[in-house]
């Protein structure tokens, strides 16, 4: 059985497999090196302090000003609105799925949620622009065509399936015996959910929220279509804003010459975006990992 041929095949397969894993490491290295290098070039021309704390973003029209806060502000409006909508809703959907739904209902609802999660973001952008915004304008005609609220709502709809499925995972990991202990003491379903299920899974619900925030920060096409392209530091969620991602799209669509400061600025914004999402993903995944260990 262990002929020369078999050993040779085994060895070469092993080598091929290692090569394909190394692609993932190379990707990470490429991300870090490239974003680092281009941002470094950018910060040669614009000081890092005026980038991070500047309040005026006007990269394309002179006088140039590269203060990123207006973009961060736009992103934060989207994140805030989306999370405000999606976390409670996703939590309730998950509660329904794990505590109330029969197997039959579940086998219908889960694929529907997957379908909702599989719809491309540009479609949600179209939906926001042609349905949600006109609906909002119907209530209040003062609202601008491009506005943060509409973008936030549609991003909320987008991340809802993700939150629901993360919370559902958390609920299923709660040992049956704890819940049954609650029922044995005379609690009804609502009380078991409120006093046992949610407290037992609160760190994983928190983790789901953090991962959802990270998704909402990185969301691009829906907000580019719905929220507009006006970078400004604003307290008005019904006005047009520009997110970090929408700016990157705007610059790269406009054919900025390679090496120019506009081109480099998109990498600086990309780096900031990458760091923000990376930190949140690490924290979120760590929380999920830890709580899994505790319950097992």
């Amino acid at each position: 059985m262990n002929s020369f041929k078999n050993i040779f095949i085994g060895r070469s397969i092993h080598l091929l497999l290692i090569l394909s894993v190394s692609i993932t490491i190379l990707t990470t290295l490429a991300v870090i090196v490239l974003l680092g290098k281009e941002s470094f070039e950018f910060f040669k021309e614009v000081s890092i302090i005026s980038f991070l704390f500047g309040t005026k973003w006007s990269p394309l029209i002179a006088p140039h000003s590269f203060g990123v806060l207006p973009l961060v502000c736009g992103t934060m409006w989207i994140v805030f609105g989306a999370v405000l909508f999606a976390v409670p809703t996703g939590l309730l959907v998950a509660v329904y799925l794990s505590e109330y739904a029969s197997d039959k209902v579940k086998s219908f609802l889960k694929p529907v949620l997957e379908l909702l999660a599989g719809i491309p973001t540009v479609v949600y952008g179209y939906f926001a622009l042609t349905f949600i915004t006109p609906l909002m304008k119907w209530f209040n005609p003062e609202i601008e065509v491009f506005n943060a609220a509409s973008g936030a709502l549609v991003v909320g709809i987008m991340i809802l399936p993700m939150i629901a499925s993360l919370c559902d995972d958390a609920f299923t990991a709660v040992p049956r015996s704890i819940k049954e202990g609650g029922y044995a003491l005379g609690a009804n379903t609502f009380e078991v959910i409120k006093d046992i299920l949610i407290p037992a899974t609160k760190s994983r619900i928190g983790a789901a929220t953090i991962l959802a925030v990270s998704r909402a920060i990185g969301e691009t096409m829906a907000v580019t279509l719905a929220a507009g392209a006006t970078a400004r530091l604003t307290a008005d969620p019904f006005g047009s804003v520009q997110t970090m991602t929408a700016y990157i799209v705007q610059v790269t669509m406009g054919d900025a010459p390679a090496g120019g400061v506009e081109y480099l600025s998109s990498f600086a914004v990309g780096t900031l975006l990458f760091i923000m999402t990376l930190v949140m993903n690490i924290i979120g995944n760590q929380w999920i990992f830890k709580s899994r260990m505790r319950i097992v």
């Binding site: 059985m1 078999n6 085994g10 397969i13 092993h14 091929l16 497999l17 290692i18 394909s20 894993v21 692609i23 993932t24 990707t27 990470t28 490429a30 490239l34 974003l35 809703t89 309730l92 959907v93 329904y96 109330y100 694929p111 529907v112 949620l113 997957e114 379908l115 909702l116 599989g118 491309p120 973001t121 540009v122 179209y126 939906f127 042609t130 349905f131 709809i157 029922y183 044995a184 009804n188 379903t189 609502f190 990270s214 990185g218 691009t220 096409m221 279509l225 991602t245 990157i248 799209v249 790269t252 669509m253 390679a258 990498f267 990309g270 990458f274 999402t277 990376l278 993903n281 995944n285």
Partner: protein, 308 residues
């Protein structure tokens, strides 16, 4: 569940034998009401989510359906809405689908096999695993920037199909790896041990026993990730895929456009006709994606023998 609970509550409250309506009875009614209300509230949320999905689909169908005709498939895009079609976008999307699949599937599946079957239990493997998890959560637009810097500028692939497909390959690779790992993990140890007991080699066990058993699960994950790549817009815009293309690509070095970019382009125009065109293109895209999703769900339910 809730019926047994009520009777249990009843048993506990039997101790209270006062004839007048006690505080306990009031509290009991209140608790019961909250329970009911919460149940209805959950139901309402689910109903709301379903209605949203239905509204989304109906809204798009109503705006776009009348624009779908044979011409819509055979025309290139145009400045005039009546003459605009999605020929270039359809061909571009199919090319991207084919190329991305042929890069990402072999790489992703073999990486998963390595991590599940070959990797030593060492710290660096754990780091690789964490790294893959983080890559899966990286915003797609960052992949676009990487593709722009590496494939378009450094390797000088320009705005070709090749550059686009390689960028999308990087994007979906972590997702394919993770889902394939889940599928391989679900194959029971006994299958491997039986094969070893019959004298098989490591590679024979892995490729002739484990892999075929895990195939339905792997396939499901692969189809879902490919459908993610088909719907992806932002990274392709960043690497410079065009929005006005009046030719079908003939080889991997050609410039291209894809359906989502065409949709974005039409949706961002102010005229209502172009919005309706966007809706028509969305219908085609969604039909493609839903078909892939249903195939994935079908495969999972029909062939999956081992579930984690």
């Amino acid at each position: 569940m809730s019926k047994t609970n009520d009777s249990l509550t009843g048993v506990i409250n039997l101790g209270n034998l006062d004839s007048k309506p006690s505080i306990d009875a009031k509290r009991k009614a209140k608790r019961k009401m909250y329970d009911k209300l919460f149940y209805r509230f959950c139901q309402g949320t689910i109903f709301f989510a379903l209605v949203t999905l239905v509204v989304l689909v109906v809204h798009i169908l109503m705006s776009g359906l009348s624009w779908i005709s044979l011409d819509f498939f055979t025309n290139f895009t145009s400045r005039f809405a009546e003459r605009a079609g999605i020929k270039a976008a359809i061909f571009g999307s199919l090319w991207v689908l084919f190329l991305t699949a042929s890069f990402a599937i072999p790489l992703g599946v073999s990486a998963a096999i390595f991590l599940e079957e070959y990797a030593p239990k060492k710290l660096w493997v754990q780091w690789v695993q964490i790294n893959i998890g983080n890559l899966a959560g990286m915003p797609s637009i960052v992949y676009g920037l990487v593709g722009l810097a590496v494939f378009v500028r450094y390797f000088n692939f320009e705005r070709s199909l090749l550059a686009g497909s390689l960028t999308l390959t990087l994007l979906i690779l972590p997702i394919i790896i993770i889902s394939s790992q889940e599928a391989i993990k679900a194959v029971p140890l006994s299958l491997r041990e039986a094969a070893y007991a019959l004298g098989a080699n490591k590679w024979q066990v892995v490729f002739l026993q484990v892999l075929p058993a895990a195939l339905p699960g792997i396939l499901t994950g692969v189809i879902l990730s490919i459908s993610r790549a088909i719907g992806e817009t932002a990274p392709l815009i960043v690497i410079g895929a065009l929005s006005f293309v009046a030719f079908t690509p003939t080889n991997i070095w050609d410039e291209f456009t894809v359906l989502p970019i065409q949709i974005y382009n039409w949706a961002s125009k102010p005229q209502a006709e172009f919005h309706e065109l966007a809706a028509a293109a969305i219908i085609i895209l969604l039909v493609l994606l839903f078909a892939m999703n249903f195939l994935a769900i079908y495969l999972r339910q029909k062939y999956q023998r081992y579930k984690l």
